[in-house]
Symmetry: C2
Subunit: 137 residues, 2 copies
DNA sequence: AATTGTAGTGCAACGGAAGTGCATTTATTA
DNA sequence: TAATAAATGCACTTCCGTTGCACTACAATT
């Protein structure tokens, strides 16, 4: 609990009660989280607050946003030491077509791609879709 | 013009006037197209028709859908001979942060990734973001 | 040519999700 | 304690994708 407060403070995010709860919720999840998920988990809180919390977290490098192709923005905690704010920590994400969950594969970095003349890459997003470990057994 | 009709027919899509126009429009574009783009180009036609045309095209392997991370679905014509319907023709896409346009880099295939035990990949999406060739000069 | 059926089109409305303006509450600091 | 700033809540908006249902154009069949 104290660690969460510290983590937030380190990142320039004031550790309010709500923020700590959301952080905790995300830390306990194995999968990427959408705003709707948080909304369901904290029905008492207002959507806007949750929305802005996620945005603040993202901006301060506490979480990174994930576009898994479902059309819903998802988020996951950043690893300690990752510097998403500056340059993306370019790991890939896996989206399961069966259980519809998305996970970070933080060990799997996005390979270097050499682009045609004139193209300058600043960021990359790689999503693999298929059957996840849980669903394949 | 006749080629378009033929192409559509080959793919099991009846070549109506509207469909031919949309195909032509997409063929003349260098970049990926969103529904809104088509809407603007053909103000007289109804959104639904355009929407369903894209869906039909997609389903019949005339176009492929592109998720470039902007939250808007885009489409581009498939290459002749590509078999999107069965397995994705896994080329990468580039989205320009400056002009907001997205292009297919059909020559650049998505590299093979070896996933952890238990994960089975069926599809992949790789989007690079940065400055495009036109905007970098 | 008239009839029947199927595929395409148009209109209207819905629903999810992201986002914003402004008032109110809570925390910080002077 | 008073003044100030930050966080939260409420209401409302916009954008995009999507669907149901009625109507129309087309093609096949008699
Ligand atoms: Mn991740
Ligand atoms: Mn493409
Ligand atoms: Zn799964
Ligand atoms: Zn550009």
């Amino acid at each position: 609990m104290k660690e969460i407060e510290q983590r937030l403070t380190e990142n320039g995010v004031r550790p309010t009660a709500m923020r700590i709860l959301i952080y905790k919720y995300m830390a306990e999840s194995e999968v990427a989280i959408a705003l709707t998920d948080i909304e369901n988990a904290f029905a008492k809180a207002d959507r806007t607050t949750l929305f802005r919390t996620l945005k603040t977290f993202e901006q301060k490098g506490v979480v990174h946003q994930i576009d898994d192709g479902t059309g819903v923005q998802k988020y996951a905690l950043c690893e300690t030491g990752c510097n998403c704010e500056l340059e993306q920590d370019l790991h890939l994400h896996f989206h399961c077509n069966n259980c519809n969950e998305t996970v970070c594969l933080t060990e799997h970095k996005i390979p270097n791609i050499n682009l045609p003349e004139g193209y300058v890459a600043e960021d990359a997003n790689l999503v693999l879709k298929g059957i996840c470990e849980k669903c394949s057994t």
